[in-house]
Symmetry: C3
Subunit: 481 residues, 3 copies
């Protein structure tokens, strides 16, 4: 490590490079009186274990504990937050290895150089904030990345990734992650989860999440074949329902606590049984119309709530994304390559059928996420402020940045109070960013509560209790951990 670090330290000493440091008060309010309250609050929760009830880490990484190949495959290739901004800045995705396996070293190094050379593109974004935290806290980087130190940084990080200290399980321990949910296909055999559960060396609970989207969208190309992955007899609608229920039970047996749903809208209008059967047959025959498929999907979202009332899986909804907005990129690089774009979303009317039927069902939990910030105070908080089942999911995806988190805090809390929040959800596939994301959230929550204390709207003991709740109690309660 010393060898790898040396050239960097020298360059910094020579004044060639800007220093990279993490200020202890970063993200806290700037007013001195408020900051000192925020500091006290933050200190009380900064080292609490991480509870991550929804995310996209691949469990096989943890099961296999294979060292990460290099900085590029760790930080760059799989993270569309990063690659999309580089793409917007003129860097072709193929140069970044998007959609590929770990690259040969020359290509990996070249991609890393592109990242460092375009470091200014990330100014002001949370990606930059998380990067800074990860580079300093996990890899001991002391220089701000740039074209000149790209290779030295690559060597420094690559060197550490080969050490036992930086293998996936070691990082998992170091990050202090108490609970980690992954996102999984209903047809997955969950052997990775079983192996992790049965391994006494793993302290973290790694739970699967039931994500049935593609099985419910029966008009998608290939659905008649894909649906068979559910197992069971999916030849008719009754068998399809039974297969879904069976897979949910299988997931629950493997530790799942929630089922996640991400469709174009939040519709939940049920249809008559015979109509559902008819549309199902049409889908099997490949003759279903888009309108029929949408109606069926909304009906099935209603059915998923019914199943959640029966089997206890927490229902989470992530609607309102236009997927694969740029078809040429989707064709070349696959899904999740950075061109999913939010759309307006509506919950009040869309959820009414579901909530009219299940809204007060004991034990039913429904967590609503949005990429359309307008609905926080217009729809989500009012719903969460009446229905015992509804929780306001933490800011998601494009909204997981300081200004939108502050908006969410105020918009939801002032209408529904703290008890209706989900607690922070990182929803990330960038494993190393998990601690930075949770730390960012704790700082922002501390700051928001400090503002309330400074405005004499809350006593500090209450703020402390609320903060501990947000960080620890609330996600455990909402996700039934």
């Amino acid at each position: 490590m010393a060898t790898a670090c040396e050239p960097i330290a020298t360059a910094l000493t020579l004044g060639l490079m800007a220093a990279l440091t993490l200020h202890p008060d970063r993200l806290l309010p700037t007013d001195p009186a408020v900051r000192s309250i925020a500091r006290r609050l933050y200190e009380a929760v900064r080292d609490l274990p991480i509870v991550s009830p929804h995310g996209h880490v691949d469990p096989r990484i943890l099961r296999d504990d294979t060292p990460f190949a290099d900085p590029t495959s760790l930080f760059l290739q799989p993270d569309h937050y990063v690659t999309r901004l580089l793409h917007a800045g003129g860097v072709p995705l193929q140069q970044l290895g998007v959609g590929e396996e770990p690259l040969p070293e020359n290509r990996a190094r070249e991609a890393w150089r592109l990242l460092c050379a375009h470091w200014d593109l990330f100014r002001g974004t949370p990606v930059r904030y998380w990067f800074d935290s990860e580079l300093v806290d996990i890899f001991g980087v002391t220089e701000r990345p740039c074209a000149e130190n790209a290779d030295a940084l690559y060597d420094l990080i690559a060197g550490q990734l080969r050490q036992p200290s930086h293998r996936p399980r070691a990082l998992l321990r170091r990050f202090g992650i108490d609970f980690l949910a992954t996102t999984d296909d209903p047809g997955d055999d969950l052997t990775a989860h079983a192996a992790l559960r049965d391994d006494p060396a793993v302290d973290t609970t790694v739970a699967p999440t039931f994500r049935p989207d593609r099985y419910l969208e029966i008009g998608r190309p290939g659905w008649p074949e894909q649906v068979k992955a559910l197992g069971g007899d999916v030849g008719d609608y009754a068998g399809y329902l039974a297969a879904l229920e069976a897979r949910r039970r299988y997931f629950i047996a493997h530790g799942a606590v929630s089922a996640d749903h991400g469709h174009a809208d939040a519709g939940t209008e049920p249809i008559e049984r015979h109509e559902a059967e008819r549309i199902y047959r049409a889908a099997r025959a490949g003759t279903v119309s888009p309108a029929e498929a949408a109606a069926f999907r909304r009906h099935m979202t209603f059915e998923m709530a019914r199943m959640s009332c029966d089997d206890g899986l927490v229902m989470t909804m992530h609607p309102g994304i236009h997927r694969n907005h740029h078809p040429a990129t989707a064709n070349q690089f696959g899904p999740d390559s950075g061109h999913d774009i939010p759309t307006a979303v509506e919950f009040t009317h869309a959820l009414q059928p579901l909530l009219a039927r299940f809204g007060t069902h004991p034990g039913f939990h429904l967590v609503l996420f949005t990429v359309d910030a307008d609905v926080y105070n217009r729809e989500i908080a009012p719903l969460a402020g009446f229905y015992p089942c509804v929780y306001a999911g933490a800011p998601w995806w494009f909204l997981d940045n300081p200004s939108e988190i502050r908006h969410y805090q105020a918009a939801v809390t002032e209408i529904a109070g703290f008890s209706r929040l989900s607690g922070f959800i990182d929803d990330t596939r960038a494993f190393c960013s998990i601690p930075a994301r949770h730390d960012m959230s704790r700082r922002l929550d501390a700051g928001f509560l400090a503002d309330l204390v400074a405005a004499h709207r809350l006593d500090e003991d209450e703020a402390l209790d609320a903060l501990t709740g947000l960080v620890d109690d609330q996600p455990r309660k909402v996700f039934k951990l």
Copy 2:
């Protein structure tokens, strides 16, 4: 009183309870330089009389001056702001006596205990802020409510409610309410208002408000019967119009200054006379379609503007609420039981027919309220910044909290200036919260203006003038008091 207070003071002294106090600078900006400006501004208006041109206090309470029965029937049962958050927190509405008359003491006390035990649910909400103000300012409470002191607080408040000092009229005087509008059915005989007007002991002007919603929504079940309450010959459309006009005159004769309209949308498209007549006949026959009923209601909103131009009643609009979202609760507890949920609302296109015809009519006033905060800067402020009749109504219902009030202040003022604001509207049925709500508004207005002064965008003498305007002149001008 001393007896009732004693155990509380003791508990507090013993450190068992948290103190409840009101900081003199609460809600003012935290930056010391800005706060000192805000303090000066606030001091200048804090004791001005309250003008409340729109709300839901029952005038019979003031006419009869009967003591409030107990803390539960005063604070809890009728206030869906409170009961809905308790319901979301898992407390069944029946335990809170929602929809019932004052409860027997054991049930009232039990409901009050539930409120105190769930005090943390209200953290960060304006409900909590108003509660704190009311408990301290009106009842001298010195402890933060909790399960342990619930009974003592109940006794303390119940004891005071039996005193002459805490009867409705005494509080009305103490609150310094100069003008108080209620909300009334067009068929109401307004005898309570007449009695209050004729009573020399009542200094406050208590005015009715004409609220014809259910008479204009001709497709609602029961409408053919209900419409008869208008009096006159409502057998045909001409008679119906005449009856509405007559009831407006009756309201005006009893002091009404405004007519309030709260429908699903803000539509104002007129229809042809013969079409209105045809739909009206269909409604009488019970054969009107939902689309016809909606068209008729939009047409009648246009007609209401015409009548306002003729008779001078200020027109206020409160659109965009999905009423009775949870039918089972509506069936059991009635309307206004906490599950009305906002929806997106549109004004620009919807109001165009009305404004094209009446937008520059001398003396016509149209105040637009919204629960969809998106329209403040997109639609309401631009409309109010051109049409002499349009005023931007203060944040309403779910939006009457500090963060949304700040959003409104900036969003509307920067586009349309201060002169296009309605001034604060409490719109409350919680009588004791009126002073706290107006005080909150004055503090936030002072803070907003202090920000402008501190940013050197406004001189302090102008800020003071603007603040006095908002608190006193503007509501009197907008509502023609």
Copy 3:
């Protein structure tokens, strides 16, 4: 000048008038630590030349260099920002000379008196902020306008307007405008631009902008006649396309860098060639339906992007305005008389066809402006954060005020970084407000960046680099200057 100034100075000295001054720290953050960072940042860019790539100054003013007639024709008559607020405040537009040529002195003076007497209507608005800057910086006014000093101010300003120092070209030099784009009809001969380009005494580049709206909206009354202004053979669709392409080339030859599009929505769905031909023929015959005209306009927006890919003109979009909301005012005073009202706008779906085809075309630039602030974080920033062609246009029209600019800064930057912003666009027809508007933007950008530095999210050297980029590099890069 001395004579004109004297009564003012005397009145002020006598304490009859309030002083008008510009505080050096105006609009900077109020927290002392943050303010000092902001000051340093602002100082570094305050005197940089102005780059104005989109606006509405009439180039003939600069070509002819005729002195401005009087304060009223300079500040009041042509500026609907000002006249609309006076109109809302009860001042009839005819008294302000809206839609008229410069007024006779008695009417001009009377209009000016109305402005000064209603100075309080502008409190809190950016109009007031710009006015203050212009009055002090350009005309040396030292008193806040009011009814009492209106005539003295009129004389003071009118006197200066007669001086060489205050003729249009002198002001242009004094303002430090490096690049100024106007907005022009495709049929314009651009002789004013040619004259300015060929005049060695003019240092500023004054470029036309291609604004084809009315040629693309083929259902508008008069279109069959108007379209002939394009020249060429517009008898069929092919000739129409060729004529548009030719006019674009003509504009480019006269220095144009962009084409601007302002329609009711952002639709870009192309239609089949034969269908376009058919609809075009119907429009020529005056038989086109509104739906066909809308489909054709969306198709032509797609075609405009294709042309931009071919000829390099930057494409800017300004959708979502309901024009001429009050027909009676439009009929009497013409367009742009203050009653254009924003509507909700949608980009994600609407732009998908265009971006699917041209989104990664090398050198294509598409700048998206909005009056619907909801789409900043929901649609514009996500699009700009992936597509290399998409830039987030600075806050436009009703949104060009401090609070919305701050919202834009945070909403867009946190999702897409600084590099995807257009830089400030004044978009004004109020010539004298250009420096004040750019100065406001620089102050707000400095403040926003100072906040990031104070929160330890950015180092100060980076903030300085980002600020210089926003003020100078970014608009030059985005508009290919």
